[in-house]
């Protein structure tokens, strides 16, 4: 299962690099700037959830993300 997961992650990384060639223009980013697409969509909710899981599970990390990149500001 771990090997399969690694392979999937590697495939996604390759897909992301390939997708780097794609361009979305600033005037095409209305949907991308929606607050529901932020990561996390709600910091208040995420913080509480992280608290619960990281306290009671044996592993942690990699929960954040770089967010938008929508060039809105």
């Amino acid at each position: 299962m771990t090997r399969l997961a690694l392979a999937l992650l590697a495939a996604l990384a390759a897909a992301a690099l390939a997708g780097g060639c794609a361009r979305v223009r600033p005037w095409e980013r209305e949907t991308l700037s929606a607050p529901q697409l932020r990561s996390p969509p709600s910091r208040i909710l995420q913080r509480g959830e992280l608290h619960v899981f990281e306290v009671r599970e044996g592993t942690q990390g990699a929960n954040g993300s770089a967010g938008g990149g929508c060039g809105c500001n």
């Binding site: 771990t2 690694l6 992301a16 794609a22 929606a34 899981f53 044996g58 990390g61 500001n73």
Partner: protein, 369 residues
């Protein structure tokens, strides 16, 4: 107390989270205040009430500051606690405060620094973080790097002479790619090396002989170094009026613990001012190589590494949650978020308990100013 180290485990996420969110969310409001109350309760007689406040504001056109504070008010009488920490129920208080400064060095690159301090009766913690965020590929990609150092001291209630250091270094890299007009892909690689005392000062491990007779109880002992790597892939995508966040996380470390986490979050705009949120999450974890249900002395000698930490054994958790975010028409940008999530924790190797059911309820306010 048994929950002390556990409660402090949230700090790494908070430190990285502050660095990441402060420097990597171009769509966030510039000046905003948040207040929230979270209540965690479970059928193992543990209740944690966590009020928190935070504020983010622009100190200058290129510098933003975020400050936050929270308290964990803990009341517990868990079988885990009573069997390992104390024969009594206990109450405890943890207080945490932090600040993050972010400097927009260029229109596309920002630097951040964060400081978080936490205190409770038997655990002190200081976390320092630094972050770099830059937009690439004509703002179709974001690279975010975050480093955090943790300087902790583990104590033991009623024993002022007990003080053990714990250090951690964490480096996380994130690449976010705009996929198309409707979505993003996030790839995260997060590494952490922890050194120093990582056991619980309250846990004692029973050691048996070959015939199954109890010989003695010894303090929990774990390796002094733990290095782990977590990788995550997440897709965030709008599908009509619905927004889907789906992610998978893989974790592995040199203690032999491997975990798989999958989560799905759906947010649906049911009106211009109301968003409904639903969440599912599943977590599967293997045991540390030195974790055993029963430790047996060999030739009269106890194993060097021994633990009764159920979080180092095989475990599962499953979560389902519902919530909503409301922006009242007359409230000048104020938003209210409320959510409830139920989690079933399952421990496959823990003799005292096979699981617990927990509820996390959250009520929060966000106010632009």
């Amino acid at each position: 107390m048994q929950l002390s180290a556990a409660c402090l485990a949230v700090l790494p996420a908070a430190a990285l989270g502050l660095a990441a969110t402060a420097s990597a969310q171009p769509a966030e409001e510039e000046t905003v205040a948040e207040a929230a109350v979270r209540v965690y309760t479970d059928d193992d007689r543990v209740t944690v009430i966590t009020p928190s406040v935070s504020a983010r504001f622009a100190a200058s056109p290129r510098i933003s500051i975020e400050v936050d504070a929270l308290a964990d008010v803990i009341s517990a009488a868990s079988v885990d606690v009573t069997s390992q920490a104390s024969p009594y129920a206990f109450d405890d208080l943890r207080v945490e405060g932090g600040t993050t400064a972010t400097w927009a060095a260029t229109p596309r690159t920002s630097l951040g620094a964060s400081l978080i301090a936490s205190q409770e009766n038997d655990y002190r913690s200081l976390h320092l973080g630094f972050g770099l965020r830059t937009e690439v590929a004509r703002r179709n990609g974001v690279i975010d790097l975050a480093y955090r150092a943790a300087i902790d001291e583990v104590g033991r209630r009623g024993d002022p002479a007990f003080a053990r250091p714990r250090r951690a270094h964490r480096l996380a890299g994130t690449y976010t790619q705009v996929l198309d007009r409707n979505g993003y892909l996030d790839l995260v690689l997060d590494t952490e090396v922890v050194s120093g005392y990582q056991a619980s000062p309250y846990r004692f491990v029973p050691i048996f002989d070959d015939a199954g007779a109890l010989l003695y109880n010894l303090p929990e002992e774990t390796p002094e170094r733990r290095a782990g790597v977590a990788a995550l892939a997440r897709v965030r995508r709008a599908v009509g009026p619905t927004f889907v966040h789906a992610d998978y996380r893989l974790y592995g470390d040199d203690w032999g613990v491997v975990s798989h986490t999958g989560s799905l979050r759906v947010a649906a705009r049911i009106s211009p001012r109301v968003t409904a949120i639903a969440q599912l999450r599943a977590y599967l974890q293997s045991a540390a190589v030195f974790h055993e249900e029963r430790y047996v002395a060999i030739a009269g000698e106890a194993p060097a590494w021994r633990t009764r930490d159920r979080a180092l054994g095989r475990m599962r958790s499953f979560t389902a949650g519902l919530g909503c975010e409301v922006a009242p028409r007359t409230a000048g940008g104020l938003r209210v978020v409320a959510a409830v999530a139920a989690t079933r924790f399952v421990w496959l190797d823990y003799a005292l308990q096979d699981g617990r059911d927990a509820i996390l309820a959250t009520l929060g306010l966000t106010v632009p100013f």
